[in-house]
Symmetry: C2
Subunit: 214 residues, 2 copies
Amino acid sequence: VPPRRISDSAVRRLSHYLRFLDEFESAGKRTVSSEYLADRGGITSAQVRKDLSHFGSFGKRGMGYPVGELRERIASILGLGRRWRVALIGAGQLGAALFHYAGFRRQGFGIVAVLDNDPAKIGRRWGDLTVADVAELPSVVHRHGIELAIVTTPAEAAQDVVDALAGAGVEAILNFAPRKLQVPADVTLRDVNLTIELESLTFALTQKQAAQQG
Amino acid sequence: VPPRRISDSAVRRLSHYLRFLDEFESAGKRTVSSEYLADRGGITSAQVRKDLSHFGSFGKRGMGYPVGELRERIASILGLGRRWRVALIGAGQLGAALFHYAGFRRQGFGIVAVLDNDPAKIGRRWGDLTVADVAELPSVVHRHGIELAIVTTPAEAAQDVVDALAGAGVEAILNFAPRKLQVPADVTLRDVNLTIELESLTFALTQKQAAQQG
């Protein structure tokens, strides 16, 4: 039984552990210590032990974690090891980059529908798919059993799209549109806002320059 | 004088306030209360007041914040209101999407150099630019006065690229390559890892399904 409340940052650390374990497995390691995992991730070994203790006991005390078993367990906690049916809404350049991103397929994310509202894009072939009209979003969601959506529309269109997705029963949305969106309580929304990431960098540079100037 | 230590999450909230203030300004609002800002951002008004109190006093007590003045102040804290010279390393599909992303230019981020290690890409025209050989990274950085870099290379190449950037004096890096990278203490690194974002969604969906079945 997975624990009830895990912080977002703990879930992110699980994703990182998973990647480190992949690396260790490729390098032929069978067991790994919390210190070793901590070192790779730049965090404390106490944090690693705490994170992993939430998910049952692994291996024998003092023997380190069994790499393969821990990898499988974390993948299962994260909902991996199965295929997720994903819709992409917004058939622009960013959408195309994500559509062709091999890392998604490798992790079990399959984009099975692409939608847009632009008549010039609707009906075009994207790989094996045909771009559908976003007006048909509910029927596309039901026909393909969509569980997850990626939104790469312009900011102005995003709230309407997200409302339509929530209305059609999609409960997990990754949003790239640069706008803070409202979703019902049963929908999980993650934002990837590229200018906000850049602003945290220019903030750091500006602070540093101010400190250097006295 | 900006305060010494501001958490990453506080900096992110400043970015969000900036966007809300843009909306309010477009809508013709002259002043805004902490409650109104809080409501737009889905946080408490106490948090808003605390965040903004770090940056001096604004307007008169009980009168709300002056929208224009607060907007300018936050933009200046975040290092906006000037142009930042950015290099893009990795001339693939994601790189192309970011290169054409209008939001960057609007916020003052100008991609002035594109680099790759693929002979088939080096020398190609991207808008007004010519894709340069990543082997010439140090001279490109110096010639263009690059302050910030966006890395969209494959995972295997990213650490070498980041080492070269740090060696050439670039102190702020936005990394899209799906690997945890090491940087010297004077370099600020932000990761955008798209599969990790998706994993936080599948984690949430899996937890929900387990709860419904149990």
